[in-house]
Amino acid sequence: MSNIPSERSLPIEFWNSFSLSIKSLFGHSSEVSKEPFSARKRNQLFRRMLSILLFFGIWQILCMMKFNFWINFSFLPSPIEVSEATVKFFSTNALIHIQSSVIRVLAGYFFATILGVGLGILIGWFQKLEDLVFLPLELLRPIPAVAWIPLAILMFPDAESGMIYITFIGAFFPILISTIKGVEGVDMLLLRVGQCLGAGQWYVFKDIVVPGAMPSIASGLVIGMGNCWFCLVTAEILAGRYGIGYITWESYVTSNYPPIVMGMLMIGLMGSLSSYLVERLIHLLMPWRITKKKTA
């Protein structure tokens, strides 16, 4: 490498180091090769903290400047206003709202997992069943949660079950589809292994098909959880009195803007947390998986 940067190499050098720092921000620490392990971890943590600071910092600045060029920040609640609203919220009975939301998500997710994985395995495995249910399912799948609200009100005895239905719908289809794909995509080689060892249908199913489909099912479960929270606000538009989504919606209706952002961020936080928990749980169920994150 010549010491004198040529006309052409300078932009390339710049781009290299820029992309390296962006990548390390998102955790691709293996590409930041020159630092020793503990220093690398420390720097990674530092950068991630910095990203949060930058996020709120830039937002605050744009609000204070009343930035108005294409996107209008003048009426947007600033982080300070949002944190004030958060403090106020937690001084009242915040717990009941959080609790209601969490229960609705968990209930909907639970049913979606049972039905989605169960049905998915059967549909993936039995062609006749797939032929029977495929068309109705494909028809229902693209319908967004919002569109289900009127029907949920009509079909379900009370608002609570209607809301659980909406969160259920959010998680059900990703889980179902990933399970079907997982079962259908089991390696033909491993199926042959089962055959030439004399395994009957039941053992092939239990010991080859289901474990083979697990990675796909796992990704469906993670996506489903995220979707579940996503549908929560929609669901809680139905709600009478409690819930984070309800708080958010009510604040919008009464033109009280800081709690809207607070509600949004809380949903975002709880959504990420639950997805992360699902991922950790899945990891425990599949000890044989080599993931790229394992360090040597």
């Binding site: 080689l189 042959r192 030439c196 060892l197 010991d207 474990p211 000890p287 044989w288």
Partner: protein, 273 residues
């Protein structure tokens, strides 16, 4: 231990393979391509046969029809007087690719065939432990496949098939993905554990040296369409060890097979001799 092995061997004919007028082809876009055309051979119980030939000559296809993975378009495959229509535990298969179930430990993988056929737990343990010991995998019985090298995985695949005492052991280039040193060790090891069971072995390879070292007879195959060109008798004494490969008799046989196969290899690559 010997008693357990003895009890595993049934008293009928074990491993008579009769292939009669076997043809396999497929139709794509209205064009019928013949992979195998009128293949005929008989393998006596306990023989070690190599199918040797250039790529595309259909040797894996013959193996797959004996295994029951593919249905012939013409002719028949008969093992121990039973016509073959589907796979079964009497015909064990060792694949070219690594085929251990990734979510099971070595022990669980090897015992799988026994487990699905209802062999009781302690009997399973004794058999599996014996074979793991034979191939040097005792310390890895609780390891997952991803924690083991290629050679180790293939060793496990071989005993996974052998632990069921199959009448016929079918092997599709099982050592192709291994480095040369490991390959030689595996070839010796295979002969060693085969001696006890004496299953019929049908071994597919494109490696002449391997074929001459391992087999009693080599079926040299030709292409376009796949057929058996010649059968070569390998009269070398058993037990055979790796240093046999340097002896003059071995080299001579090697040369002989090499000449037979050269013509077919060039043909498969569409060169004119």
């Amino acid at each position: 231990m010997a008693k357990l092995l003895e009890n595993n061997l049934q008293s009928q004919v074990k491993g008579l393979v009769e292939v009669e007028n076997l043809s396999v082809g497929f139709r794509r876009k209205g064009v019928f391509t013949s992979v195998l055309d009128n293949v005929n051979f008989t393998i006596q119980p306990g023989e070690f046969i190599c199918l040797l030939g250039p790529s595309g000559c259909g040797k894996s296809t013959i193996l797959n029809t004996i295994a029951g993975f593919i249905k012939p378009t013409g002719g028949s495959v008969v093992v121990d007087y039973q016509r073959i229509t589907k796979p079964g535990a009497d015909r064990g298969f060792v694949f070219q690719q690594y085929s251990l179930l990734p979510w099971k430990t070595t022990f669980q993988n090897v015992e799988f065939g026994l487990k699905v056929r209802g062999v009781p737990k302690d009997e399973r343990k004794e058999l599996v432990d014996y074979y793991l010991n034979r191939v040097g995998l005792s310390n890895y019985r609780h390891a997952f496949p991803y924690q083991m090298s290629g050679g180790m995985q293939q060793r496990a695949s071989i005993i996974r098939a052998l632990v069921n005492s199959p009448s016929v052991l079918l092997m599709d280039e099982p050592f192709a993905a291994l480095d040369a040193q490991t390959r030689h060790m595996m070839q010796e090891l295979l002969l060693d554990i085969w001696q006890d069971l004496k299953s019929t072995v049908v071994f597919v390879t494109h490696d002449i040296e391997e074929a001459v070292f391992l087999s009693d007879h080599i079926f040299v195959m030709g292409v376009n369409p796949g057929h058996i060109k010649t059968m070569v008798n390998i009269d070398l004494e058993r037990p055979r060890h790796v240093d046999l490969m340097l002896t003059p008799e071995f080299m001579q046989l090697n040369r002989h097979v090499f000449d037979l196969i050269r013509e077919e290899t060039l043909k498969s690559m569409a060169f004119e001799e």
